[in-house]
């Protein structure tokens, strides 16, 4: 595997130790959402809508409630209505008025699988029988699934009071268009007038699911005094605590949330579904309630991310300089507003240093599950369209697609169309690494093609708390609060070990519960290694400072006369050599006698998150007999800023790339004319499996983020941004046909090849 990691300047950072949570995960010991059991626990199950759109005339739970073994039922009547209020959830916003309607339908059901009631019973069998006994009287309404159909004036209205925001003057009539957004820079009319070549295309993408292997699961226990314990699989337990407290009207402090090990999230576990139901049921039943979704429920009632329509127009000079770019992005929000259309618009042209840009976006509701964040929400959709047009520009102009991108690449000082000027960024370095790679130069076989595309993601910081405790034997205990989905604890321990010059395996990390540590925003926005890393470094430096203070006290010399060097506290200046240097282990032993426990605590709002650019190269082979596209070689190149644990950085590149391959070639939500999802299972939805894929090569580029002590950029999301366009460009060269719609599944590819006389 090629790497561009510069010579290690560190003892620990950049090495590849075994992760601290690893052994528990290979022995089956690690406890995930569904793995905890409490004495006396009940089973909670959810009644879900069989209709895509219907008014709820009545819900009668009396018969179900009288069944032996049924302990509690909750419906819309158990939750107070909420005022319209937007709060952040990862890179997206949620509105409590909608959240309370999504966890349990109120006036209407808005999609197949929409929750209506929840039951707690002594067994799953009894709970399911109780669901069957709940009588719901529906008035079935016409539904709309497609986003373009939903925008039409005569489309069935999901929310009768939805007036499009961002339009002046405000429309007087309700519609399914929740919001219009616009970003402009310069004058695109002028830019297109200067262009020698203009390409204008429309692209369609389908809704796709995050596809985490662990279904949503939680276990709630509420005591008679209202104190609640909630065990849940989540990307952010403080955020879920806030949502539950808000919806239940409870004090935040009453709810203690512990995040289980999490079996994948990708954005989909930033929102609440089961948690408020389990808490409400437990309070009513006076017993713990465990709830676990089935895979069908996960597909029908959680996630996915938007499908959409993306129109792109770009103009360039003969020399390849892009003179103007316009985009129109229409995204499905699902049943409630809040698609990632804003980040989709902001990302669309972020790869390029452009003078004239205009992007318009529309957030459109339809009778689908409410979308949730999915790895770089919105970015892959708009980037698929833009990067495909850039590839076509390169083809029309007869310019190498890397050279065309290099000519226009965003770099330090580039003003992005969405506002900010970039600091040091690594797109040019990634493109150069692509150009120099063995992959780019390798020969291709018959029916094979090679494509390339670039991608961008913002990354965020935010509220983060870490506690680092020096134990009496010199070992350390680290408490972080951002759930660890793919190696976070390893990288935090490595940063602490680097600071403190201790063996990384002498630090035991845990993800603390919400009552043990200050507030932490969730694991999302590629923020956890950046933000919790920054807080860990601050906590470690506090330990060093305290260690120096304790030594000064012991040696009876001023604090300023003590220094920290090579993992030791040493007397300095005129006291140098007068006292025996002390290690952290020595300091740990005397902590009790010199002032008590030594704890480094950092409660910060991490600033200075830096974007990460990536470039992917895809080779595909297209079977002219069947239209099947096989990825034969793949390389993911990305600027990590600094790779703390390179293996887990590579893992993010590889995993994101493969999710993108699935999105490009076979994943999609398929609806029937009845508005029901037809492929709500892994067999029919079909995420990529091992035999579909080649090895995924990686090249880590490191352009350090100057705002992080070790140069870390977020890296988790960018890898899903380039794949669809890279594969599209590759299929174009392999098949001779250019595709404008995802997924590029065999029947579609074969049909297009036949139409073009290529099959």
């Amino acid at each position: 595997m090629q790497e561009r990691v510069k010579k290690p300047q560190f003892d620990v950072v950049g090495t590849r130790p075994v992760r601290p949570d690893g052994v528990d995960k290979v022995t089956g010991r690690a406890k995930y959402g569904a793995d905890l059991k409490m004495a006396g626990q009940l089973v909670g199950k959810v009644l879900r809508s069989p209709h895509a759109h219907a008014r709820i005339k009545s819900i009668d739970v009396s018969k179900a409630l009288s069944m032996p073994g049924v302990k509690a039922i909750v419906t819309r009547d158990d939750f107070a209505d909420q005022a319209s209020e937007f709060v952040p959830a990862g890179e997206m916003l949620i509105n409590y008025r909608d959240v309370v309607r999504n966890i349990l339908a109120r006036e209407k059901v808005l999609y197949e699988g929409h929750a209506i009631a929840a039951v707690a019973a002594i067994s799953e069998k009894v709970a399911i029988a109780a669901l069957d006994a709940i009588k719901v009287d529906y008035e079935v309404l016409p539904h709309v699934i497609d986003e373009i159909e939903a925008m039409k004036a005569d489309a069935p209205l999901l929310q009768e009071d939805m007036i499009t925001q961002g339009v002046t003057p405000a429309p007087t009539k309700a519609s399914n268009v929740a919001k219009r957004v616009e970003f402009t820079l310069g004058d695109t009319a002028k830019g297109f007038a200067e262009a020698d070549v203009i390409i204008e295309r429309e692209f369609k993408t389908k809704a796709v699911h995050q596809g985490y292997i662990e279904p949503h699961a939680c276990l709630a226990s509420v005591s008679e005094d209202g104190s609640a314990d909630l065990w849940t699989t989540t990307q952010g337990h403080w955020v879920k605590r806030a949502h539950c407290a808000k919806l239940l009207g409870w004090d935040v402090t009453k709810i203690r949330v512990t995040s289980s090990e999490i079996g994948g999230g990708f954005g989909g576990k930033t929102v609440i579904y089961l948690e408020p139901l389990a808490l409400a049921l437990s309070k009513k039943a006076h017993r713990p309630v465990k709830m676990v979704m089935s895979r069908e429920e996960v597909f029908k009632s959680t996630g996915p991310t938007s499908g959409g329509t993306v129109r792109v127009k770009m103009g360039a000079k003969k020399d390849g300089r892009i003179t103007a770019a316009e985009g129109e992005i229409i995204l499905q929000a699902g049943a409630f507003q809040g698609s990632p259309v804003q980040p989709a618009c902001m990302c669309a042209f972020a790869n390029y240093d452009l003078e004239n840009v205009k992007v318009i976006g529309f957030d459109v509701v339809s009778n689908r599950p409410k979308v949730a964040a999915y790895r770089a929400p919105g970015g892959p959709i708009s980037t698929y369209g833009v990067e495909s047009v850039v590839d076509e520009l390169a083809e029309k102009l007869g310019i190498d697609p890397i050279d065309l991108r290099l000519k226009n690449a965003a770099k330090e000082g580039t003003k992005a169309a969405y506002g900010p000027k970039f600091g040091p960024v690594g797109l040019v370095e990634c493109l150069e690494a692509a150009k120099e790679s063995d992959h780019w130069k390798a020969p291709l076989g018959p029916n094979q093609g090679r494509g390339i595309a670039a991608g961008f993601w913002f990354n965020i910081g935010g509220e983060t708390t870490v506690s680092l405790q020096l134990n009496e034997d010199g070992t350390l205990t680290l408490m972080a609060g951002t759930p660890d989905i793919g190696g976070l604890r390893a990288s935090l321990c490595m940063m602490a070990a680097e600071e403190l010059k201790v063996d990384v395996h002498k630090i035991r990390p845990i993800i603390a519960d919400t009552s043990s540590l200050g507030y932490n925003f969730l694991t999302g926005g590629s923020r956890s290694a950046f933000s919790s890393g920054m807080a860990t470094v601050e906590a470690a430096r506090s330990i060093v400072k305290q260690a120096c203070q304790r030594a000064a006290k012991l040696w009876e010399i001023p604090e300023e006369a003590v220094t920290w060097e090579d993992g030791e506290v040493r007397p300095a200046g005129e006291n140098a050599g007068k006292h025996k240097p002390m290690t952290l282990s020595d300091i740990g032993k005397i902590a009790g006698k010199t002032g008590g426990a030594i704890v480094g605590y950092a409660a910060i709002s991490a600033q200075g998150a830096a974007p990460s650019f990536g470039v992917h190269i895809a080779d595909t082979e297209v079977d002219p007999g069947t239209g099947k596209v096989t990825v034969t070689r793949y390389t993911a190149i990305q600027d990590a800023g600094r790779a703390i644990h390179p293996s887990y950085v590579e893992g993010q590149f590889q995993g994101g790339a493969v999710q993108g391959i699935g999105w490009a070639l076979n994943e999609e939500y398929i609806y029937g004319p009845d508005g029901k999802l037809q492929n709500a299972g892994f067999l029919d939805y079909r995420v990529p499996v091992a035999s579909d894929l080649p090895m995924i090569d990686t090249i880590i580029v490191e352009v350090p983020n100057p705002r992080h002590p070790y140069g870390v950029r977020g890296i988790g999301e960018t890898p899903i941004v380039p794949p669809m366009a890279a594969i599209g460009a590759s299929v174009r060269r392999a098949s001779g046909v250019r595709f404008f719609e995802l997924p590029m599944s065999p029947p579609k590819v074969l049909k297009a090849m036949k139409a073009a006389g290529k099959a």
């Binding site: 590849r16 075994v18 992760r19 949570d21 690893g22 052994v23 995960k25 290979v26 022995t27 089956g28 010991r29 690690a30 406890k31 995930y32 569904a34 793995d35 059991k37 069998k125 995050q210 596809g211 985490y212 292997i213 662990e214 279904p215 090990e261 999490i262 079996g263 994948g264 999230g265 990708f266 676990v292 089935s294 895979r295 989905i485 793919g486 190696g487 644990h645 293996s647 887990y648 590579e650 893992g651 993010q652 590889q654 995993g655 994101g656 790339a657 493969v658 999710q659 299972g681 892994f682 067999l683 995420v687 990529p688 499996v689 091992a690 035999s691 579909d692 894929l693 090895m695 995924i696």
Partner: protein, 158 residues
Amino acid sequence: MAKHHVTTTVNGDPVEYLCESEQTLLDCLRDELDLVGAKEGCSSGDCGACSVLLDGRLVCSCLVLGVEAEGRSVETIEGMAQGDELHPLQRKFLEHAALQCGICTPGILVAAKALLAKNPDPTETQVRYWLAGNLCRCTGYDKIVRAVMDAAAEMRGA
């Protein structure tokens, strides 16, 4: 209806449990025996997270009924390490960072163990096809395949 009394062997230990007719082997392992290493990802045999060996044969325990374990031998992830000694596959998964969230890992390790028992020297393609019934959404499979190949080489003494 009265529950069934099942007598079986799990990871070499004689065990007994009571189960209902419709309970799967996965349910019995997790709910009756508290062996939660096997995971439920789909309950339809599509994801492989519940993989166990039944008389040495790789099965999705969500597709086997609890009563079918009567008189047979079940091996789960909990029986893979010998005391403090991890199985070479477990060790190689850690060395190669072949897991991220880890939810699919127990099933993949059990499946890979079954592969190496059958074929100690698999090609990359053979590893990929054997593991095609075990979904992993985090890793893109690259490091998993490398870890299995490396463990196989070590176990062969290569």
